[in-house]
């Protein structure tokens, strides 16, 4: 308990430090200016770092909401009797979705959903679906036969078995899958500007185009920190939600 408390406190401090860092536009300008005296624009100027960060968080948040809803939904459905026939198909589709390089998924999604935030979210969702669906299926399949047999014999209905046994037992795997998808999405969302949206990828892509390392770092450092914090947040959440896991 206390260990979890300490972990949560450190995490809160980490997030506070992160938000302070991305709000300190002046500081970035001064530090980058000092580090790279040769570049004329040491920070991205059309949006503040604060705005870019929140665009990135927005993209990630919307994507992850969809990924969790669709991924867990598909996982549960394909492990029920009525959806079992679709398990191989869903497995294959999600694998294909992830085998393509993310950039390809982004551009392939373009003609379907169009330019802009919708396209980016659709492509990111497709890309991050695999770990969540796969881990939900594996988690649900990991419930021991005897435990299911006991649950049936004790008089639990199918719905009660799902909610009181299968879902909780699958939860560690599902949360681990969501954690993987989250880190993947935070990283991959840096490509979103290529299909016309914002986010921390904006200064990176601008910096690549102008051969400006300062701009690249302005996007890359917050993204790396965000991925790290996202991972730690999920780990803390896992520990808190599944206290029975050794």
């Amino acid at each position: 308990m206390s260990r979890l408390g300490v972990q949560a406190a450190l995490l809160a401090a980490g997030w506070a430090a992160f938000f302070w860092l991305v709000s300190a536009q002046e500081l970035w300008a001064r530090v980058m200016g000092a580090l790279f005296p040769q570049v004329s624009t040491p920070v991205y100027e059309r949006n503040t770092l604060w705005e870019l960060t929140w665009q990135h968080l927005g993209l990630t948040g919307v994507t992850m909401t969809l990924v969790v809803l669709i991924g867990v939904g598909l996982g549960v459905w394909t492990t029920r009797a009525q959806g079992h026939a679709f398990l191989p198909l869903v497995n294959n589709l999600t694998t294909v979705g992830q085998t393509f390089p993310p950039i390809a998924v982004l551009f392939l999604a373009l003609p379907l959903v169009g330019f802009g935030a919708t396209g980016a979210v659709a492509a990111l969702t497709l890309y991050a679906l695999l770990p969540v669906t796969r881990s939900t299926v594996l988690g649900l399949q990991s419930v021991d036969r005897p435990v299911l047999d006991a649950a049936r014999g004790l008089g639990l209905s199918a719905a009660q078995r799902l909610w009181r046994l299968e879902v909780p037992v699958a939860l560690p795997a599902v949360l681990a899958g969501i954690r993987t998808a989250l880190v993947l999405t935070i990283a991959t969302a840096t490509l979103a500007p290529m299909v016309g949206t914002g986010g921390l990828g904006v200064p990176i892509i601008a910096g690549l185009g102008a051969d400006n390392l300062a701009l690249i770092l302005q996007g890359a450092i917050p993204v790396a920190l965000l991925a790290l914090l996202g991972d730690l947040t999920m780990r803390t959440l896992e520990r808190w939600l599944t206290p029975w896991v050794p």
Binding site: L148, A150, A151, G153, L154, L165, P168, V169
Partner: protein, 320 residues
């Protein structure tokens, strides 16, 4: 009462596993289903709470055909204990025991009290065990929780599928002992599956020996041991079945009047196999039989065990 009427079960493509089984489990009794693997003993048991449906025939519980009872309702009134226990890994011991009452809406304080009573009854102190997770318990402790869970809703019936088979001999014996006591206190009607003859003799009021899809013999343990109906029964109950019978009796069943020459003591209430073992250890000399009060009430010698099979009936089994 649990009743099987002309029950036949045939799985797709195979010969019938059960072939016209008719059997009654009287109220308050423990009936053991025993037989070699594949004899359908588990299948027969799982017909009662409809984990399996019969191909033909019917199963009746409390005078009602189980096929006409809502399956969830039926199962909640029948405790179920299995060999691999099947505790929910994400719930604490107390939460596992409270599982069924929590579903049926028993108030939290009440079901908690009941869970603690049951854990105590099963020899697990709630203060030490209630908040642990199943993985933190030994196999024997897990099965104690499994039995407490089955009893939580206070069912009139209990189905036990090889509940002690996976345990080491010492734990198994301790649990059997405790379970016998519990059974006397609670008075459930119990159907108990095992493949262990000793366990069947020890626990059963009646034994039903299944083989080749039919009942080979149904009767009190003593009858199957002493008067096997056929070669199948004789061979299944084993070559030392007369020795097993000793476990059903006490020294009191064999003793003769006190003998001043007797040395050493055996207890009046000792199981006869223990008394025999003491006699063999003493080199065959006569021994005194002593009542719990310390009074010498008789004597016992090796020859008292010979030829006694017709003369003495086990206590409480007149005419068996």
């Amino acid at each position: 009462m649990i009743e099987f009427r002309e029950v036949t079960k045939q799985f797709a493509g195979g010969p019938p596993v059960l072939n016209g089984i008719t059997l009654a489990v009287p109220d308050g009794e423990l009936v053991v289903l025993i037989g070699p693997s594949g004899s359908g003993k588990s299948t027969l048991m799982r017909l009662v709470n409809r984990l399996i449906e019969p191909t033909s025939g019917s199963v009746w519980v409390d005078g009602r055909n189980v096929a006409d009872v809502n399956v969830v309702e039926l199962r909640r009134n029948i405790g179920y204990v299995i060999q691999s226990v099947g505790l929910f890994p994400h719930l604490t011991v107390a939460q596992n025991v409270e599982l069924v009452p929590s579903i049926t809406g028993v108030p939290a304080a009440q079901r908690r009290r009941r869970a603690e009573d049951l854990l105590h009854l099963m020899g697990l102190e709630p203060a030490a065990y209630a908040e642990r997770y199943p993985r933190q318990l030994s196999g024997g402790q897990q099965q104690r929780v499994g039995i407490a869970r089955a009893l939580a809703a206070d069912p009139a019936y209990l189905l036990m599928d090889e509940p002690f088979s996976a345990l080491d001999p010492i734990t198994r014996e301790a649990l059997q002992e405790q379970f016998l006591q519990l059974k006397r206190e609670l008075g459930q009607t119990i159907l108990f599956v095992t493949h262990d003859v000793e366990e069947a003799v020890r626990l059963g009021d009646h034994i039903c020996l299944l083989g080749d899809g039919v009942i080979q013999q149904f009767g009190p343990p003593d009858e199957l041991l002493h008067r096997p109906a056929n070669d199948f029964v004789a061979s299944f109950m084993g070559d030392s079945r007369e020795l097993l019978r000793l476990g059903l009796r006490t020294a009191a069943d064999y003793m003769r009047p006190p003998d001043p020459a007797a040395r050493g003591q055996v207890g009046l209430d000792w199981p006869a196999d223990r008394a025999l073992s003491a006699l063999l250890g003493a080199g065959g000399a006569a021994m005194q039989v002593v009542a719990p009060s310390g009074e010498v009430v008789g004597s016992l010698r090796l020859s008292d065990f010979a030829g006694s099979s017709q003369a003495q009936q086990p206590a409480g089994e007149p005419g068996a």
